[in-house]
Assembly symmetry: C2
Homo-oligomer: 208 residues x 2
DNA sequence: ATATGTTTCAAACGTATGTTTGGGCGGACG
DNA sequence: CGTCCGCCCAAACATACGTTTGAAACATAT
């Protein structure tokens, strides 16, 4: 339970960066531990396995985000304000940022990991996330539904996931896209700039 | 050069399915060759390496698609018809379908591979595709620009990639999303149904 | 029928991986 | 002081991987 000398944190910090850069299977425990400056056996000692390490990384990201999102949603419901599509999306985006020290770089990293989780190795991670945090996500979806009453529920379901896909993909290939953008348009956009462009796209898509 | 007994095709057919299911790094040559019913050494004999096999798979997909797309674009330009955003997107979707025997299943598989190519192992594949088929893609982008003259070029660049992301993601997780949709809404959508829902979303997003 | 070039095969090679082991260090507590 | 327990370490382990090899099987053409 204890984290006396910070070994656990150092592993998590290093691993999430390396995983985001190269993928899960392509990143070896040796690469992680050597870059983190800890012993190879530390991962298996503290986490049990490589799979468990991956889940721990997602846990560290999702736990604060989901609790905070849950609170904000209940508060929004209690207030009884009329829910607005654009506000809702900004809410989730602000929550995602706020839950991790307002570091856009780290948020992009997280979405990149999500992208990997969705595309790679269909199995354990999807189950893990859905089991653990499915409730909050469903509540948010319900809010969305009441915010776009003119869109039929099933239609909304698909459009939300299309938007999620656009987000995940944009974050995943953020770096290369920004490089292309710079060479083609001579514009050096930040991660926050990209997010700002992403939101209207999603809103436009959901409204059809 | 010859493909006498269909070994090459059998490898390609099997490999593209397995890669799409589990990713590139997670699929071993032994899994491919044993399922394809050919000898392990066949891949290295016919393709040279695992990397070259992956590129060959994309080549087989992209070559017919890009030549046909190129033809249709020049024809469209020659005709001098006014280009329309929705028509353009339908054109590329129809071309993608037409280039592979009108099999939606196979098209979804291809997009899933594209998703993997974008997220996984940043390196060789992106270069390979960009080098080989960048021209056609750029011509299509130029058409898009003239079809949406009210959207600034850089804005359009990002929105196109957001749309690409939505597409790739939708195709990548097509199966699981369809399963969720069936259990939540009791609606058994086909891959074509999903595509039909995807297009308006992208159009709406690009138009903002 | 013989020779030639191509394709297939079983087996092995070298390497990298995730995981396990057993010992050693150091603070906590009786 | 001695014992215990959590943590760290170098080393080894077993396995899976991509690739290579050399010979056998095959087709083709002279």
């Amino acid at each position: 339970m204890a984290a006396q000398s910070g070994t656990v944190e150092r592993i998590l910090d290093t691993a999430e960066v390396l995983f985001a850069q190269k993928g899960f299977a392509e990143t070896s425990l040796r690469a992680i531990t050597s870059k983190a400056g800890v012993n190879l056996a530390a991962v298996n000692y503290h986490f049990g396995s490589k799979e468990a390490l991956i889940q721990a990384i997602f846990e560290r990201f999702l736990a604060p985000f989901c609790t905070e999102l849950g609170e904000r949603i209940t508060q929004m419901v209690d207030d009884g304000e009329p829910v607005d599509l654009e506000r809702l999306l900004r809410l989730i985006s602000r929550t995602a940022l706020g839950a991790h020290g307002s570091d856009p770089q780290r948020l992009a990293l997280f979405f990149r990991l999500c992208g990997l989780a969705y595309t790679q190795a269909q199995g354990h991670l999807r189950r893990f996330i859905r089991e653990r945090y499915g409730d909050v996500f469903n509540r948010f979806l319900a809010m969305l539904a009441s915010a776009a009453p003119d869109v039929p529920p099933m239609e909304l379901f698909w459009r939300v996931h299309f938007g999620l896909g656009a987000t995940v993909f944009a974050m995943s290939s953020m770096d290369s896209l920004r490089a292309i953008c710079k060479s083609d348009f001579d514009a050096d956009l930040s991660a926050a700039d990209v997010t700002q462009r992403l939101l209207p796209f999603i809103v436009g898509g959901i409204r059809a």
